[in-house]
């Protein structure tokens, strides 16, 4: 297979990973602040359903307004679910796992119950838009700049989150809150309030991820339209070491694995084709298990020390120290 064949497949993989990018960035933000929002599966599904229902209902008022309303609705739904997570875990101090897990199942059921009348009907989709100058860049143009606005927005979101995390004071404090909330409190931050805010932002982004599915990459709505992606998003955040750039790359890796699965099916006939269908999910999880176990750190320790620091920054697997823990202010 030569480059001319690989590029378009990579391009598809990158573009179609866009919803995951939004979801994973959202989860990364929440987890970096110390809140694990396990409801991703339900949030994405409910976001997808809501956005499609809104956009479809408003279709008459023009594609762009209906799409905007759809995305906004999904963001609100995502933030609303995140608000329950925040209320239940930050204020009422229940287990983040319990609340998130219940919401994951509840959101999924609600989406299919409420979305019943919108199943498999055509609706508005995000129109494609090639960026005039950039689309003709050799290789990169094909790879990155021949899709639609949402894709470019996701690039912007990755950059934005990265800049926010590593270049702004507020972002530095966000990371600090997830590591040592007590120390952050000592430096004058209202930890609980900030966690509320970041959980809501993260939830809104996961809602948007749902909309990105139903209004763009898996246009339309059907029962359990995006099932599985929420759990994968949670895994990818871990796999991406809570670093927005690496998380985004992991999303693309997942997209590429999916594409490879369909390509490899006919190339390796010895393996039942269905194995390839589930392979991306399984591979992602296995990679996660391998990279997050203790022995990776042991191997890292064997590396010469300057190399060690770069390497560990790249494949660091330590979660934010306060992730999932209740913050008790004295």
């Amino acid at each position: 297979m030569d480059i001319a064949q690989i590029t378009p497949i990579l391009a598809t993989a990158i573009a179609t990973s866009t919803p995951l990018v939004f979801a994973c960035l959202g989860e990364t933000i929440a987890e970096r602040a110390g809140v694990i929002n396990l409801s991703a599966e339900g949030t994405i599904l409910l976001g997808a359903m809501t956005s499609f229902a809104i956009a479809k209902t408003l279709e008459g008022s023009g594609t762009v307004p209906s799409l905007l309303a759809g995305f906004a609705g999904a963001a609100v739904v995502g933030a609303a679910i995140a608000l329950i997570v925040a209320l239940g875990t930050l204020t009422l101090k229940q287990s983040q796992v319990a609340i998130g897990f219940v919401l994951a199942l509840l959101g999924a059921s609600l989406s299919s119950f409420l979305g019943n009348s919108f199943v498999r009907i055509p609706g508005p989709t995000v129109p494609s838009f090639k960026i005039p100058g950039l689309q003709n860049l050799p290789l990169l143009g094909n790879l990155l700049f021949q899709s639609d606005l949402l894709v470019y927005l996701s690039y912007a979101a990755i950059a934005l989150v990265w800049v926010y995390f590593y270049r702004t004071r507020a972002g530095l404090m966000l990371r600090a809150i997830g590591e040592q909330p007590n120390a952050a409190f000592a430096r004058g931050t209202n930890v609980v309030k900030m966690r509320y805010i970041y959980t809501l932002i993260g939830g809104a982004m996961m809602g948007i991820a749902g909309a990105a599915f139903s209004l763009d990459f898996k246009a339309g709505w059907s029962h359990m339209h995006t099932a599985g992606y929420g759990w994968i998003a949670l895994a990818i955040v871990i796999f991406g070491g809570w670093n927005p750039l690496r998380v985004a790359l992991s999303c693309y890796l997942f997209g590429i694995l999916q594409s490879l699965a369909s390509v490899a099916q006919s190339s390796i006939p010895a393996i039942p084709s269905q194995v390839f269908n589930v392979a991306p999910f399984m591979l992602m999880i296995l990679l996660l298990v391998l990279t997050s176990s203790e022995w990776v750190e042991r191997v890292l320790k064997l590396l010469p020390s300057p190399l060690d620091r770069t390497a560990s920054e790249l494949i660091r697997s330590a979660p934010p120290a306060a992730l999932g823990k209740v913050f008790e202010q004295d």
Partner: protein, 496 residues
């Protein structure tokens, strides 16, 4: 800035942590805050830094009354606090730690912050690698970083809570030099400590707290004896304990060294005899706890050997220690000793050796009722342990000790107990000693140490003194040793 605390009171439950405490710190001076563990020093400074809200009293800055409810308020009032355990962000770099919480434009100007950090480092002659991760720094370096950060915020009042535990001698020298420099620049500094040496070296004035009250104030220099008298109050209590020590050795330690994150305990050789009670005195965090944990089998010694009743135990598992009749009573009863959510009876069942699969609830109930009677626990068999008072929790812990008990290791056996309970507990313990149990206990209550020990070991900064018979101890000598002036130590020659 002149800092005045007026009649500060703060209660935690029944404990009066601060009882109308007043303190005045003139600008440009270093004010020592001296006292034993639990004297109320930390509470007082935490009120000033916004971590604890006071019940009553007033805080005045340059004569003006201010309201400080959160650390944010304190920062706004230019009050900064250096905590005993560094409150920083280990996974972040030195530079990022320096920046967290600083206000400014949205984007971080790392170059500017770096210049500022470098400038300050040079000014105080600190040597920090700005890109190193804080987790890889020593405690002393983390303190230095924190001080620089506080200074960069422009604080004019600096509180240091026990800053000299866990740092090296050279770091201490650097720290003190910096403090003096800051004072000379007009900042007011509150230095919380229980080390006489440090206070005498650094402070201009000192206030001594004891049991939540101000016991006295002094100008430095001031004779040790005066400070010790203020800290510990009065003549030491006379020994109360009958002779229970037998001639057979029970616990034998050889060339022990224990390494932990904060501290290296160098112990050398030690022998405790059957029926003997050894009190471990010293400021908290000087190594007593490490010794107890190691003898309990919960902490591994890096080098050396441990024998109990002649049996080699050095590499044995914790369960072997339990089997040998070695008991451990932690200070934090609900965190380390008892399981909240479980009743007294559940605990009795857990500690009853049984070969059977099923719990004989009838039998354990009988045992529990008996234990409750014997140990005078105010609770029912099905009372959850977290609902018991501290004293009754302690009685429960005592009831759960293995029988026969060869070696008992205790942290603050009577902390938080009323006098009656204290007497009762020790009565029980001495009865055990008479049957040959050896006890090692640490306590911040010097009276307790004096009353109930046969011999005392004083700890300071990971060094331990030779065991001293209580009859040979005077308040002055004990105070000096606790304050860090051990004349000779257990370890034969300091390995550097």
């Amino acid at each position: 800035m002149k800092v005045e605390l007026k009649d500060i009171s703060k209660r935690f439950g029944n404990v009066h942590a601060n009882d109308r405490v007043s303190l005045t710190v003139e600008a440009g001076t270093i004010h020592g805050l001296l006292g034993e563990n639990g004297a109320g020093k930390s509470t007082l400074v935490k009120v000033l830094s916004g971590f604890i809200s006071r019940d009553s009293g007033a805080v005045l800055l340059d004569g003006k009354s201010v309201e400080i409810k959160t650390p944010a308020d304190a920062i706004a009032r230019k009050i900064g606090m250096l905590h005993q355990d560094p409150l920083d962000f280990p996974p972040l770099s030195v530079l990022d730690n320096f920046i967290v919480g600083k206000t400014g434009t949205g984007l971080i100007d790392r170059q500017r912050s770096l210049r500022q950090l470098q400038q300050l480092s040079t000014h105080f002659n600190f040597n920090l690698n700005h890109y190193e991760t804080v987790a890889n720094l020593t405690v002393g370096e983390r303190q230095q970083l924190e001080i620089l950060r506080l200074l960069s915020l422009g604080v004019s009042t600096l509180i240091l809570d026990e800053p000299t535990t866990g740092i090296s001698a050279s770091q201490k020298t650097a720290l003190f030099k910096a403090m003096k420099q800051l004072a000379s620049e007009g900042k007011s500094i509150i230095f919380v400590s229980h080390k006489l040496e440090d206070v005498e070296e650094l402070c201009d004035r000192v206030t001594v707290l004891r049991h939540g009250k101000v016991r006295g104030r002094a100008e430095i220099p001031c004779p040790d004896a005066v400070l010790i008298d203020l800290m510990f109050g009065r003549e030491l209590a006379p020994p109360l304990k009958p002779q229970t020590r037998q001639s057979e050795p029970a616990l034998q330690l050889e060339k022990i060294r224990v390494d932990t994150d904060r501290l290296t305990l160098r112990l050398g050789d030690l022998t405790a005899y059957k029926g003997e009670v050894i009190g471990l005195a010293g400021l908290e965090g000087s190594g007593q706890q490490q010794l107890l944990l190691m003898c309990a089998g919960l902490l591994r010694a890096s080098t050396g050997q441990i024998r109990v009743n002649g049996v080699e135990m050095t590499h044995e598992s914790y369960s072997k220690y339990l089997d040998r009749g070695i008991g451990y009573l932690p200070a934090d009863r609900l965190k380390d000793g008892l399981v909240s959510g479980l009743s007294i009876q559940d605990h009795v069942a857990l500690r009853t050796p049984s070969r059977s699969l099923f719990v004989d609830w009838k039998e354990t109930l009988k045992q529990t009722v008996q234990a409750i009677a014997t140990f005078n626990i105010r609770g029912k068999p099905n009372t959850l342990v977290e609902r018991l008072s501290g004293g009754n929790q302690q009685r429960t812990q005592l009831a759960l000790l293995p029988v026969p008990l060869n070696l008992l290791l205790m942290e603050h056996p009577t902390r938080g107990l009323d006098i009656e309970s204290v007497l009762w507990v020790w009565q029980q313990l001495i009865a055990r000693c008479q049957t040959g149990t050896t006890i090692l206990f640490m306590s911040s209550d010097l009276d307790e140490i004096m009353r109930y020990s046969d011999r005392v070991i004083v700890f300071s900064g990971g060094q331990a003194s030779h065991p001293i018979a209580v009859s040979d101890l005077t308040a002055d000598r004990l105070g000096q040793m606790i304050g860090g002036r051990l004349s000779d130590t257990l370890e034969p020659s300091v390995i550097s």
